[in-house]
Subunit: 392 residues, 2 copies
């Protein structure tokens, strides 16, 4: 029976049915997984969330590195998962393919752009699934769907065979419900078997908490205490005295400019149609000038230095993954836009500095999940995996 | 009179004659410059050092960001400069277009891959010229040709409109003889007018000195003393107790794998011919497996953390740019290969960690120049520009 027969949440791409057996043995032997439809599978078109993309690009002749690593570890690919159009959204809606159902909160959005991978894991269709995270595309759906999700250190997992989006932010991520399995998959994707470093100090980002809804902060309080109890040293920190809004604005500008540079040729030549929100964003990024973006790029370097200094020597930063639970399905575009910007203020922290961030389903509000996130220094991915396994 | 009429050193591409006036006013008003032939100029084919590349790619319809910034600052493009085939060499030889003459040592190689830009500046054809640096393609020709050259912090100057090579290492750089002008150009390319940070501490990398020829170390001794006299705090440091050879091996693997991922489709479909050295390298990278490269990627993250820690708080690292002066023209390929690897052990330091490095023509041996390099923390590009202006 193929995954499409069991897929009651609309997580998998029926247009790209694919199965690949993994190696007979290995740390992930026999485990089924879904792969976001921006990673290449040899002989299968890559869709990148848009039917025009799918039909206007050559069929890949090689597997992405991510797929190669998972198959070599014994995992079994059962299908490609939906994503937002060209991944340029955090909502998980797709006008061509529908909106995967968020099993943890069925009247709410699943989050995106790795919507199908998160929804498939949340619904128990597969034990794990792979996504990508540029602006929050793994962290957001992990938070909304109540599963563990992670974005890796920038450059830590090769993106060869994945469609580039905004390359200086693009990273690989994945989802699972079980923390031990989550760690195992991470070890395979990171190709890292060295012992993890020890976390030494916890910083609670007060400006990040201030960007979340007050009820989110209350809902997270017991979890923050639980996490803090693991550390000998705990302190509050203000990431930016001017608040996270300017970091978010810089993120939107740089990301937008990079996306346009990467994809303007294709968009200009084929003028594909996009759904609400994404359509307006592509229009906006086409107007960006170097004069607008250059100062943001400079400030990004300062943000990076600030975070690298803060996170030295085993320091871990804790923030809410998203300001609150998933938005309801069917909200008007402007409302979703405002929410997106509020989210990006939290998401851009790890994004700007290329840092690893794990979102743990350790809080909920009115029965809906919200993720609590840990961020560590560049390269300390396995330290976060260890912490996730001991907390969840 | 076009630059081609004055080009006695073979630095410019006669096949891509191009001139573009800059804005009527600006910090670089009226200054002529050459642009390495991997940066796009609207309406002019980009050659990337190979005639088959040039003829098999569409003519760019937009200017690269680098060009846009320079023209907006008033500088005047007078021509595109030669580079090695697909930039995959540090020698400056090109079997299709010849080897630009190194005016500072005419019987020796100019260095590459930004060979034409360095040669044009060394010969006084233009006051400055732009290159790109992935493995050393600005730093090496700057050292060999006796001019100032710099690679910028990774991501600090946008590479939009430049051919990608090994994207996690690719950076923009430039050459000039005059240090004040060098700084001005840097301010424009970096789009950074903020005051530079103050250098506080100098580290002398003893393992980097050990990788240079003994006569290079002797020739540099007075310069090192002069540089050290500017700092209140000076100390020796060993970057890696195992020496720089493993860092170099990791660099070759990761860079090779990235280059192959970026360009294998083109190479496979057209089977272009390459000159000695480059031909063997492309053959080698086509055999690399993820099993070989993955551990190197992990070690790279550790190298980055090590260097970020060392260079915090205004620390500057000093190393020889190259182990010695330029090799003679016409050496056999295996000899040049061994020299390349010796060079890469020094060059990979800034490369792995995405750090800015300025090469200053402050030493010479038997009448031939060798560069002395300063490396700073990520984002501290203008600090290095300031130091260059005060030292040269």
């Amino acid at each position: 029976m193929s995954i499409h027969d069991q897929d009651r949440v609309g997580a998998f791409m029926p247009a790209s049915p694919v199965e690949r057996d993994g190696a007979p043995a290995g740390p992930l032997a026999g485990l089924a997984f879904g792969l976001k439809d921006l990673f290449d599978v040899s002989g299968v078109p890559t869709g990148f969330g848009h039917p025009v993309w799918r039909s206007s690009h050559p069929v890949p002749q090689a597997d992405s590195v991510v797929l190669t690593r998972l198959l070599a570890a014994g995992a079994r690919l059962v299908g490609k998962t939906h994503c937002d159009e060209l991944c340029y959204s955090l909502n998980g809606e797709n006008p061509h393919y529908g909106t995967p159902v968020n099993s943890a909160a069925p009247d709410r959005l699943p989050g995106g752009s790795s919507s199908g991978s998160a929804a498939a894991v949340a619904a128990g269709l597969v034990p794990f699934a792979v996504g990508s995270d540029t602006g929050g595309s793994v962290r957001v759906p992990a938070s909304y769907c109540g599963v563990i999700g992670m974005r890796t250190t920038h450059d830590a997992v090769p993106l060869e065979g994945a469609v580039p989006f905004a390359p200086s932010y693009d990273t690989v991520g994945w989802f699972a419900r079980d923390a031990a399995l989550f760690e195992k998959v991470g070890r395979v994707l990171l190709a890292d078997s060295a012992p993890a470093g020890a976390p030494r100090r916890l910083l609670i980002a007060t400006d990040a908490l201030a960007r979340a809804l007050p009820e989110t902060v209350s809902a997270m309080a017991p979890t923050l205490e639980r996490i803090a109890s693991r550390f000998g040293s705990v302190a509050d920190v203000t990431l930016n005295p001017q608040g996270l809004e300017p970091w978010m604005q810089d993120f939107r500008l740089i990301q937008g400019s990079d996306i346009w540079a990467t994809h303007q040729a294709w968009i200009r030549s084929l003028s594909p149609d996009f759904g609400g929100g994404i359509r307006e964003r592509f229009k906006w990024v086409s107007t960006l000038t170097d004069e607008q973006v250059a100062p943001a790029r400079q400030r990004r370097l300062e943000i990076r230095s600030r975070l690298n200094e803060l996170l030295a020597d085993g320091t871990v930063l804790v923030i809410p993954t998203t300001p609150g639970i998933a938005p309801l399905r069917g909200l008007p575009v402007p409302e979703l836009e405002a929410w997106r910007n509020r989210c990006l203020g939290l998401l851009c922290i790890a994004g700007h500095a290329g840092l690893p961030q794990i979102s743990l389903p350790m809080a909920n509000l009115g029965g809906c999940p919200i993720g609590v996130s840990l961020i560590a220094a560049s390269g300390c991915d396995t330290m976060l995996l260890d912490m996730g396994a001991s907390l969840c």
